[in-house]
């Protein structure tokens, strides 16, 4: 039972991070390899707002979330905007560079020590007993809930929202979308903001649960296989991929060796790439017509 709970929590973490990869890839065909770093930055921002608004945890959290959405929009406006119309590879490399830069900045500003925003906010993280003898930490439960809400609203937005439909349209055919009066820059900026928003939620909840350090980028990187296994352009796929990767990880840690934790997602990824490179739910990329 405890295993199932662990799988659910880990899958939620991966899923909440993975949807950021999926959103940006789906709309602009760019892989945002700085997603883990953006997520970490959000957690560090929480640390800062926590010290400025001590005693008002909700206020601090929403301020940090607002800041990270702003960061996401700025990343698009000042960096990725120049990359629209360039080769996708150039854009991906730009995100890699951004990631390295952000890692450096966080070390300089907040030091590389493990820190605990939960104590700074004065929050406790009690563990809750679930029926069946399993236990879950409050933050873990919040993570599962946030992921459920995030996926529910994202799926509904993309399915029924006027701008959600437009986002899907822009992802399929940017040129035709522009010819139908859609401002692609606005769409991409929305995608980047949404993606950093979900990433920020994940980053903050993980930091509240288990502390904050440079290792958080590795969690972001481990969520990438989850997105890829599901198919990079499918939200439902990201959910399924996260479950698969999390289940494999938790079970192997439990029955084989805890040291496997770091490699399991990538083993799953390699296996997937061999069998079905476009992922479980992804669309097979068509060759460009020349």
């Amino acid at each position: 039972m405890q295993l199932a709970v662990n799988i659910a929590v880990l899958a939620s973490i991966y899923a909440l991070i993975a949807c950021g990869y999926v959103l940006i890839y789906r709309v602009s065909r760019v892989l945002n390899l700085a997603h883990g770093e953006l997520m970490m930055l959000a957690a560090y921002l929480l640390l800062t707002t926590a010290s400025s608004f001590a005693g008002h945890p909700l206020f601090a959290i929403s301020a940090a979330i607002g800041l990270s959405i702003l960061v996401g929009a700025m990343v698009y406006l000042f960096l990725m905007r120049k990359m629209t119309g360039e080769m996708a590879l150039a854009a991906v490399l730009a995100t890699v560079a951004l990631g390295v830069l952000l890692r450096g900045i966080t070390v300089i500003v907040w030091s590389a020590q493990q820190q605990y925003p939960a104590t700074a906010l004065g929050l406790v993280n009690p563990s809750i007993a679930l029926p069946g003898g399993a236990r879950i930490s409050l933050c873990g439960a919040l993570l599962v809930a946030c992921t459920a809400v995030a996926y529910g609203s994202l799926l509904a937005f993309l399915r029924f929202g006027r701008w959600g439909v437009r986002m899907r349209a822009a992802g399929q055919s940017p040129l035709l979308a522009a010819q139908r009066g859609i401002n692609l820059h606005a769409i991409y900026a929305i995608a980047w903001s949404l993606s950093t928003f979900t990433g920020a939620m994940a980053g903050m909840l993980i930091a509240l649960d288990s502390g904050l350090g440079q290792t958080m980028t590795i969690i972001g990187l481990k969520a990438f296989p989850a997105a890829l296994v599901g198919g990079l352009d499918s939200l439902a796929g990201a959910l399924a991929g996260s479950l698969i990767v999390a289940a494999a990880e938790v079970l192997l840690i439990h029955y084989v060796d805890p040291l496997l934790s770091e490699v399991v997602p990538f083993l799953v990824l390699i296996a997937m790439l061999v069998v079905r490179p476009w992922g479980l739910f992804g669309t097979r990329e068509e060759l460009d017509r020349v």
Partner: protein, 268 residues
């Protein structure tokens, strides 16, 4: 001719900073007119339409000389979405619908130039009135539509943008003649109801000359001939090269056609 709605003046378009696709193109479109642009493959017809509707970053194309004025404002090298909101909608030649969206979703994508909800639903009603087939297929994924249905959806999508000027690129491409004439008829009807101005680009001169008021013939990126529909229809070169009739009117042996290539200087 009254004050032109769109005027193109000595337009030059260069692809990838190296390939000149259009050179010194000038044309005017008066409100309410249907203007046809004829020409063979690679003559620059589609490039002309794309220049009017706006180039996208990956096209790597630019208007290097000349101007395009729409209702008095200069729009050359403008972004496509701005031109669309200004009232120019394009029915593209390829990639004309969003294949993974349903028909209804395809029609909800456009951002109309006059943004009111009531106006949008009025337009939607008009579209479904003229293309009832689309109404039946509302929930169908656009990628699964037939060529004719796709063309209808593309026209409907462009109309949902609320245009004043509609650009139609190769309506007849890949469609059966009976479908082409059907859609063309609908289009002319819709145009009258909405008092639209249109530019139609066609390889099939027979299709174009049946509806246009005025026509331009493009060859190698230049305008080589222009005139009203009757003048073009009666022009001996048009009759021979585009409509496939000999100037004498009778049938001719295929051999004599192939024997020599008439070397006419078009301009001058």
């Amino acid at each position: 001719m009254s004050e032109p709605m769109l005027s193109v003046d000595k337009l030059e378009v260069v692809y990838q900073r190296a390939i000149t696709a259009l050179q010194g193109i000038s044309l005017g479109v008066a409100p309410g007119q249907i203007v046809g642009v004829l020409g063979t493959n690679g003559a620059g017809k589609s490039t002309l339409l794309r220049a009017i509707s706006g180039f996208h970053g990956v096209d790597d194309a630019r208007v290097t000389e000349g101007t395009i004025r729409f209702e008095g404002r200069r729009i050359e090298n403008g972004e496509p979405h701005r031109n669309t909101r200004a009232g120019i909608a394009l029915v593209p030649e390829r990639d004309k619908v969003f294949p993974n969206l349903t028909v209804a979703e395809n029609l909800s994508v456009p951002v109309a130039s006059s943004g009111s909800r009531a106006d949008m639903s009025r337009r939607q009603a008009l579209v479904f009135h003229h293309f009832p087939r689309l109404g039946d297929l509302r929930a169908r994924t656009a990628g699964l539509l037939s060529g004719g249905e796709r063309q209808m959806l593309a026209i409907a999508g462009a109309l949902m943008c609320g245009p004043k000027l509609l650009l139609v690129d190769e309506l007849s491409l890949g469609l059966a003649p009976v479908i082409v004439s059907d859609i063309m008829q609908k289009l002319v009807q819709i145009r009258r109801e909405l008092s639209l101005t249109m530019i139609v680009v066609e390889q099939s001169a027979a299709v174009a000359l049946a509806v246009v008021d005025y026509g331009y013939v493009l060859e190698n990126g230049r305008v080589v001939l222009d005139g009203d529909a009757t003048r073009l229809r009666d022009h001996p070169d048009i009759r021979e090269f585009y409509l496939g009739q000999s100037s004498a009117g009778g049938r001719r042996s295929y051999r004599t056609v192939k024997q020599y290539r008439r070397n006419r200087r078009w301009y001058g």
